[in-house]
């Protein structure tokens, strides 16, 4: 008898609201929040049995071509105004701190070469990277520490963040403009100077790590 009772309770517990209702829920949650929200988080806030991922598909279709869009940021989702309407928002425009050329280049190098060590950034730029530049990017939460490289000294690496993707309207670090072409041209390689012994044979490993980390970066 008690078992039966439990079963019915559980059944109703897992009976999800209709998809249209789930779509409304996702809409409300995304609408209310400025930060991107992961599917998992959505799922956690919706009643049991809901399929946030499917509701998201419906919702983003509904907002296609509207003044507001449903966008993917890494593995999270957010609502953002359509970029072509930016001219209406002068009032909302937040003056972002002007980045120095060094900071912009460092940011680009981190985005395209991630995970990348400070030494590698310096090698690419041909000058030392000031502590302040890294600090500024860290503070803006556009970059963060990645895992250490498996090379002597186990240097710390830098990778870009979800905030970075959000700011530049990127779904994914793989969507960086021209990434594929740069890679095809070999320009994202960390080619050691001829005659240096240290980096010999390290290339393949590095390549692997880059791929591994890039996909891993946006998993959670």
């Amino acid at each position: 008898m008690s078992n039966e009772a439990e079963q019915t309770v559980e059944e109703s517990l897992f009976e999800a609201p209709p998809m249209a209702e789930q779509e409304r829920m996702v809409e409300a949650i995304l609408f209310a929040t400025a930060e991107p929200i992961t599917v998992r988080e959505l799922q956690g806030r919706m009643p049991h049995g809901c399929d946030a991922a499917e509701a998201l598909v419906h919702l983003s279709k509904r907002y296609e071509g509207r003044g507001v869009r449903v966008v993917k940021v890494g593995d999270a989702w957010a609502m953002r105004t359509a970029p072509d309407l930016g001219f209406l928002m002068q009032k909302e425009t937040v003056e972002t701190r002007k980045l120095s050329r060094a900071a912009i280049e460092t940011l680009a190098i981190i985005a395209y070469h991630q995970p990348v060590t400070r030494a590698e950034i310096e090698e690419i730029r041909g000058v030392s990277v000031s502590r302040g530049t890294i600090d500024q990017l860290l503070e803006m939460e556009w970059i963060r520490f990645g895992r250490r490289k498996m090379t002597p000294g186990r240097p710390v690496t830098f990778v870009v963040t979800q905030d970075f993707l959000d700011h530049f309207g990127l779904e994914n670090a793989r969507d960086l403009p021209g990434l594929k072409e740069l890679r095809a041209a070999g320009l994202l390689e960390n080619r050691p100077p001829p005659g240096s012994i240290a980096a010999l044979g390290a290339d393949d490993e590095d390549e692997e790590e880059i791929d591994g980390d890039q996909s891993e970066l946006f998993e959670d």
Binding site: I124, G169, P194, G195
Partner: protein, 263 residues
């Protein structure tokens, strides 16, 4: 001053302007690689087809001019100059079969690669910054609603907990002999304090049992404890000379009366 120096070179005005700017701006350059990249652009060819030899010459000329102008060049500019001079000689001289190490071509190719890569990163950075950007071209929700975190606590217990709990209670009596039961003990200190407060009002002989505190006169255990401590307190007060005590015969009620003068 700069003009005087370059007048002797008989270079075109445009070149001179470029050179001046180059030298004057030396502080604006981010290191030798940056300078090399800028110089390479004057070759007006694809970076991949750049003449590293020509570039080395240009750079060395740049360093010479800077020196002539007494512009303090950082050490790495000079290191680069030395390296390029070495590279130049390698490129010009036929390879020495005796010598180990990378050939001039290899070194040149790497330098070209470095320049191309730096340029690629600069282009990428420019494209990145030109993208539609949050807070400038597209916007997040203006009014955000905070998610309130509600913590719900559910409690649970197992049948074993329940049985252990019950067992604990039912076996507690077994422990009793080893534990002073404070619940049913009226201490002498308590009795003394109570009696001191009461005796002043009893000039007449009063039964000891009347002094037992409320709630201690029904339960036999508590009554016993209260009687004993009250009696002991009474004796203490008699000793202090504040009470008189009498008992007419064995097991007769004990009676007491105040020796204090009523006020």
């Amino acid at each position: 001053m700069a003009e005087n120096i370059f007048e002797e070179d008989e270079v075109s005005v445009a070149e001179r302007m470029a050179a001046e700017q180059l030298v004057v701006d030396v502080d604006g350059f981010e290191g030798p690689l940056d300078v090399l990249l800028m110089l390479s652009r004057t070759q007006k060819v694809d970076l991949r087809k750049i003449s590293v030899l020509a570039l080395a010459r240009q750079y060395l000329a740049f360093v010479e001019r800077a020196k002539a102008l007494r512009i303090e060049l950082a050490a790495d500019y000079l290191v680069m100059a030395a390296w390029l001079a070495f590279l130049k000689s390698r490129l010009l001289l036929p390879p020495d079969p005796e010598e180990d190490g990378p050939s001039g071509e290899e070194l040149a190719a790497h330098l070209a690669f470095q320049l191309e890569r730096l340029q690629a990163m600069r282009d990428a950075a420019a494209r990145l910054m030109a993208r539609d950007r949050l807070g400038r071209d597209f916007f997040a929700r203006g009014v955000t609603e905070d998610v309130t975190r509600v913590k719900r606590v559910t409690y649970t217990a197992t049948l074993l907990d329940l049985m252990q709990g019950y067992a604990r209670i039912r076996t507690r009596d077994d422990f009793r002999p080893f534990v002073m039961d404070r619940e049913a003990v009226f201490t002498m200190e308590q009795a003394l304090e109570r009696m001191r407060g009461l005796i002043g009002y009893s000039p007449d002989w009063t039964d000891l049992s009347a002094y037992l505190p409320d709630g201690w006169d029904v339960d036999p255990v508590r009554r016993r404890s209260a009687t004993a401590s009250t009696f002991a307190a009474t004796l203490e007060l008699v000793k202090e000379g504040r009470l008189e005590i009498q008992q007419s015969e064995t097991f007769a009620p004990i009676r007491l009366r105040s020796k204090d003068k009523p006020q």
